[in-house]
């Protein structure tokens, strides 16, 4: 897996979706569903599972996955109308990433037009972001960081960073190199490291 260590990918797979078990599950009744009163989880139980587990079991026909609430018809209709300002972050931080992953699930009802829906949503929101991404007020930025999904926020922040870096560069007379760390002189924690200088101390102070 090329993205084995990718933390965003990992966290996207932590998002949950409703599932219905096709089989009974031996000895995990309570663990899967706290309201279960038998040792085994009965077949037909509805359980919310993180994607990483639902995906695996669904491929083995042990459960049937369902669309998470935020991808249900109602929200989709809502998004068709005014995609730009809908708070997707609240619904799922990894809206697109998880959405795309759901597209690969077999047996997921309503997944046929899911990829198209995701694409359309991204496209319409992308345009809006483009208008504001390079120049925008602090308030807009604030609002944005509350409603954008992780993927969108990353794009937005990157665009902002590029603009800022450009402004900094174009208005600067010369490049000033600065330290990334503020040295704490009181604690002498920075002392005594044997840095290998090419510059050779001749006389120590």
């Amino acid at each position: 897996m090329a993205k084995y260590y990718d933390v965003d990918d990992i966290l996207a797979e932590q998002e949950t979706l409703p599932t219905v078990f096709n089989t009974e599950v031996y000895a995990l009744g309570r663990a899967l569903d706290p309201s279960c009163d038998s040792e085994n989880l009965p077949a037909g139980s509805s359980v919310n599972l993180p994607f990483w587990l639902a995906d695996f079991l669904s491929h083995r026909k042990m459960l049937k996955p369902h669309l998470p609430k935020f991808l249900k018809k109602r929200l989709r209709d809502e998004l068709q109308g005014e995609a730009g300002c809908v708070d997707l972050r609240d619904r799922c931080k990894f809206f697109y990433e998880l959405g795309r992953k759901l597209c690969t699930l077999s047996e997921l009802d309503g997944s046929e037009d899911l990829s198209e829906f995701l694409l359309n949503t991204f496209t319409s929101r992308f345009k809006e972001m483009l208008t504001t991404s390079h120049v925008c007020s602090n308030e807009t930025r604030e609002t944005y960081s509350r409603v954008l999904t992780n993927e969108e926020l990353e794009l937005f922040t990157r665009a902002q960073a590029s603009s800022k870096a450009f402004e900094r560069w174009i208005y600067s007379k010369s490049t000033v190199i600065s330290s990334r760390i503020k040295r704490n002189k009181r604690k002498r924690e920075w002392e005594g490291q044997e840095f290998r200088f090419r510059t050779r101390p001749v006389v120590s102070a």
């Binding site: 897996m1 993205k3 084995y4 260590y5 990718d6």
Partner: protein, 249 residues
């Protein structure tokens, strides 16, 4: 003439003494292949690659902007190294010679620029090698793109990271699940190895008419003509980077 308006500590020579600006006899100058200098090229062609310093600069830019490690430019780096050494020697030799102060400042500036490119070039490569060490090391074709030193670095790096993962995490896991290449004994092929995404998009400039290249499975093609710049999926132009028919911008 005015005194040095400059911070450099290198005093400008007396105007009467202009001969001091002359460099040493030309047999003393180990310069790269004799390619006409940039003077013939108008500004519009400031990207025209024609000598080692420029080649190195472009190699550094390519390396900075591609998702995967490119072919190591062994000959170029070797030539650059000896150029640097020679120039540094000259800078050192002129240390006491005030008549050569400007010459020295110029050479020092130029060699600093070249050293910056070389370091950045090698650093960018190392960072990609670190990120995809196992992927590269397990693939002969990719390994062949590394210098012997880089290959050794990759191997040592893999060892060091393996040891870290083993000591801190894997040693605490049950035996069927403590491998670093396979998620578990169930995995038939290694399924834990990070690799670069060749589907990332890049900006390229076409240096050579490449004709129509396919851009998807549906036989759609795209014409790449000399001088054009594109935002394009890296995979589509991958082969042209090492052969120098496109460059990253």
């Amino acid at each position: 003439m005015e005194g040095p308006a400059t911070s450099s500590g290198a005093l400008p020579p007396d105007t009467n003494d202009t001969d001091d600006l002359t460099m040493e006899p030309s047999d003393d100058l180990g310069l790269g292949p004799e390619v006409p200098g940039g003077t013939e090229h108008p500004l519009e062609h400031d990207y025209d690659v024609s000598n080692d310093a420029q080649l190195l600069r472009q190699a550094w830019i390519n390396e900075s902007l591609t998702p995967e490690v490119l072919m190591y430019r062994e000959d170029l780096v070797d030539r650059i190294r000896s150029l640097i050494a020679r120039q540094e020697k000259i800078v050192e030799d002129y240390e006491q010679d005030h008549n050569q102060a400007l010459t020295r400042a110029i050479r020092f500036a130029e060699v600093s620029r070249i050293k910056f490119c070389l370091r950045s070039y090698l650093r960018k490569r190392l960072s990609k090698i670190e990120a995809y060490a196992i992927h590269i090391y397990m693939n002969e074709e990719l390994s062949s793109k590394l210098s012997p030193q880089e290959l050794e670095f990759a191997k040592d790096y893999i060892d060091a990271v393996n040891r870290l993962f083993k000591d801190s995490i894997l040693s605490r896991l049950p035996k069927d699940y403590n491998d670093l290449l396979h998620q578990s004994m169930e995995s038939e092929a290694p399924d834990m190895i990070p690799e670069p995404s060749l589907d990332r998009h890049v900006f390229v400039r076409v240096l050579d008419d490449l004709g129509d290249i396919p851009i998807d499975d549906q036989n759609t093609t795209f014409r790449l003509q000399e001088g054009d710049i594109f935002a394009i999926r890296y995979r589509l132009i991958r082969d042209f980077v090492d052969s120098g028919r496109v460059e990253l911008v």
